[in-house]
């Protein structure tokens, strides 16, 4: 996802910030952007536990075994996904990061509303880390939840560079016997074309079609899907394809907390656990009204926690890519019985899938009730030919950022004018669906249905310049990003 990053902006780096802002209408009007002192003072005001957690993190080229096919890819550490990192809300985290990739990168802490200069967006918040260089990330974690980290640079997210970031709530009672993190991904690296090649093929097909009055279905025959633009050769749960599933072994009757993360670049998934209902408890780290469901749908970047009481036997946990062919899965084993076939689709998968609009926030999660001081629109649109995705009619290199001032209540009215759903992610904040103080859940990534609209409210309590973008990595790279800039 990364995309922040047109080549030009990478070259400008942090020095480019002023220049970009200087071109925007708002800055022309004389309003300066909020600066480093505000970021530092906001950080020092965060409540802390006093504990410090250190992590040595290394991005590197690795070989991974995908069900018998060994591929070269890029990962955090030795595995895909990277080892989950755990801390508690209020902890200070110090990460010594080393970039052993052959090109520059960055690390973005998805879902953590941390200090702006540690947000890992080159050209906006944090300088890129050059190939072979090291960098230190140092921040206090404000709240608990199932989060993750990934690069915010070009198409790197669509390789193996992702890992869970689990923030525990010291006050939350552990009402479960075991925990299972399930990271979903769409996979091409080393099996199909490289992500960069897929992107350039989409762009080329779009240009050819736009020039030639064709059908407009770009992508080399891969367009036309309601879930995304790219058909992948593999779909993975915890880095494993269907013929080599990870297995959770537990006792019948065990109560398991699932932490489900959609780390895919271009794929919405519907998930289900054969023979079970999932009781949804959290989304994007915040508690929701607990709702049982047979199937659950997650857009890219979204996380859901669910609790399930296990039956006796062998059960597939499946993730079906929406609008695409294929399947990802893992297994639960609590007793005897044969392993279901690799392509087995439990009946639960065919049920109507829960999405966030069916949930309410749990008690105590709402923002303070307040009328917005500023209301701003994000109109989502795009075309396959040319391959161009926009917010308010503009690609990122031409964007007019949204603006807000510290302490203001803001409302974003997100309208999807395209025929496919887009997961819209805001950095540095967890907004509330619907009005502040209402019943909507807190989220940082919301799947906006095709031709649908979503209003979200936020409190401007974390000064800086924050990306707002589609979490489809290809759409983001094609321009579907803007910023929310704090004015001084």
């Amino acid at each position: 996802m990364g995309p922040v990053v047109t080549r030009r902006q990478v070259m400008l780096g942090v020095a480019g910030m002023g220049a970009v802002a200087g071109l925007s209408a708002c800055a022309r009007g004389g309003s300066a952007l909020v600066g480093a002192p505000a970021v530092a003072s906001s950080e020092s005001a965060r409540p802390t536990t006093g504990a410090t957690r250190d992590l040595a993190l290394r991005a590197r080229a690795v070989k991974v075994d995908l069900g018998g096919t060994v591929v070269s890819t890029w990962a955090y550490g030795d595995t895909v996904p990277g080892t989950p990192f755990r801390a508690s809300a209020g902890d200070r985290v110090r990460i010594a990061f080393r970039n052993d990739l052959p090109e520059e990168t960055s690390v973005h802490w998805h879902g953590l509303a941390i200090r702006n200069d540690m947000d890992g967006v080159p050209g906006v918040t944090t300088p890129a880390v050059a190939a072979g260089a090291t960098s230190a990330y140092d921040f206090v974690i404000p709240h608990a939840g199932t989060h993750w980290f990934h690069p915010h640079h070009g198409m790197q997210l669509d390789r193996g560079l992702y890992a869970p970031f689990i923030v525990e709530d010291p006050a939350e009672p552990g009402r479960y016997d075991a925990e299972w993190i399930l990271v979903l991904d769409d996979w091409t690296d080393g099996v199909g074309r490289s992500p960069e090649r897929i992107y350039s093929d989409l762009a080329d097909a779009g240009n050819r079609t736009a020039d030639g009055m064709g059908m407009g279905m770009g992508g080399g025959g891969m367009g036309g899907m309601d879930g995304g633009d790219v058909a992948y050769p593999m779909y993975l749960v915890n880095g494993r394809p269907t013929n080599d599933p990870q297995t959770l072994t537990a006792k019948p009757g065990a109560r398991v907390r699932l932490r489900i993360i959609n780390a895919a670049a271009d794929t919405i998934f519907t998930v289900a656990l054969g023979g079970h209902d999932l009781t949804i408890t959290h989304s994007d780290g915040y508690a929701v009204s607990t709702v049982p469901t047979s199937a659950l749908r997650l857009g890219m970047g979204e996380r859901y926690d669910a609790v399930v009481t296990l039956g006796d036997g062998v059960f597939p946990f499946v993730a079906a890519p929406v609008g695409k062919t294929g399947l990802a899965r893992a297994l639960v084993r609590t007793g005897g019985g044969p392993v279901p076939a690799a392509n087995a689709r439990p009946a639960e998968l065919g049920s109507f899938a829960l999405t966030v609009d069916m949930l309410q926030g749990a008690e105590g999660t709402a923002l303070e009730e307040r009328e917005p001081d500023t209301t701003q629109d994000l109109a989502l649109s795009g075309t396959m030919a040319p391959y161009r995705w926009t917010i308010n009619g503009r690609t990122y290199d031409d964007t007019v950022p949204l603006t807000i001032r510290s302490g203001q209540a803001g409302r974003l009215r997100i309208t999807n004018m395209s025929m496919m759903p887009h997961p819209i992610h805001l950095h540095g904040h967890t907004f509330q669906l619907g009005p502040a103080g209402g019943t909507g859940p807190r989220k940082d990534t919301v799947l906006v249905p095709s031709m649908g609209s979503v209003d979200v409210d936020l409190l401007a309590d974390n000064p800086g310049q924050w990306m707002v973008h589609c979490h489809n990595a290809y759409h983001a790279e094609a321009g579907m990003m803007t910023r929310l800039d704090y004015l001084a």
């Binding site: 069916m358 396959m384 308010n392 095709s450």
Partner: protein, 213 residues
């Protein structure tokens, strides 16, 4: 751009976005002024104002949408296990039946067909964006989803019915909000506002029922 009613609205939204991005404090909601909960009943005694293209499209899309809600309400009458779901289904039938009649009478008065000439048409080959969508721009539940509901029984029926009706209401609200951005017809305004407010209230009720299920 993509579908009929949005093309106009989209332009307005983009302009608003540009202005708002410059830090101006924009007003809250748009033209919705009719009192909450009022149904659009009294309008038949007054002369109906002419319908714009988007008024016509709104009625043509909302009629089948409402009809599908009635179909779902009928299933609830048969198969729902909880009294709350049955009561809600009754409430939906009571609200939406007269609205269908009213929208049908508009189309008759406007001399427009009650069904869209081509229910999926309009997009042409302009941009190749018709990707099926999740529900697409009709906002209707798919046949597969309706079959899932029709085959469900017991507590699972109630749950699926609530989830589907929430999604169904969401798309009705989206269509209503779209027409409210550009309609000048008082009857359309009143009905679209009633749908927006009434169905949002029902969504909150259904979310609560799901959470207690």
């Amino acid at each position: 751009m993509r579908a009929r009613p949005l093309a106009l609205a989209a332009t307005a939204i983009t302009l608003t976005g540009l202005l708002a991005a410059c830090g101006s404090t924009s007003a809250t909601s748009g033209g919705a002024t009719a009192p909450a909960g009022s149904t659009a009943s009294a309008t038949s005694t007054q002369a109906l104002a002419p319908g714009s293209a988007s008024d016509v499209a709104f009625a043509q899309m909302m009629i089948p949408h409402h009809q599908q809600a009635l179909e779902m309400a009928d299933l609830a009458a048969k198969y729902a296990t909880s009294a709350e779901v049955k009561a809600l289904a009754d409430q939906i039938r009571t609200a939406q039946t007269p609205e269908i009649e009213q929208m049908t009478s508009w189309l008759t008065a406007w001399d427009a067909p009650t069904v869209m000439p081509s229910s999926s048409g309009g997009d042409g080959g302009m941009d190749g964006m018709d990707m099926g969508g999740m529900g697409g721009d009709s906002g209707l539940m798919s046949e597969a989803d309706m079959a899932t509901l029709g085959n469900a029984r017991g507590a699972a029926f109630d749950r699926i019915w609530l989830m589907m009706m929430i999604a169904h209401h969401q798309s009705a609200i989206t269509m209503s909000q779209q027409v409210l951005t550009d309609t000048t017809n008082p009857a359309v305004k009143t009905l679209a506002t009633a749908v927006t407010v009434g169905q949002a209230t029902e969504i909150a009720t259904m979310q609560k029922l799901l959470a207690s299920g």
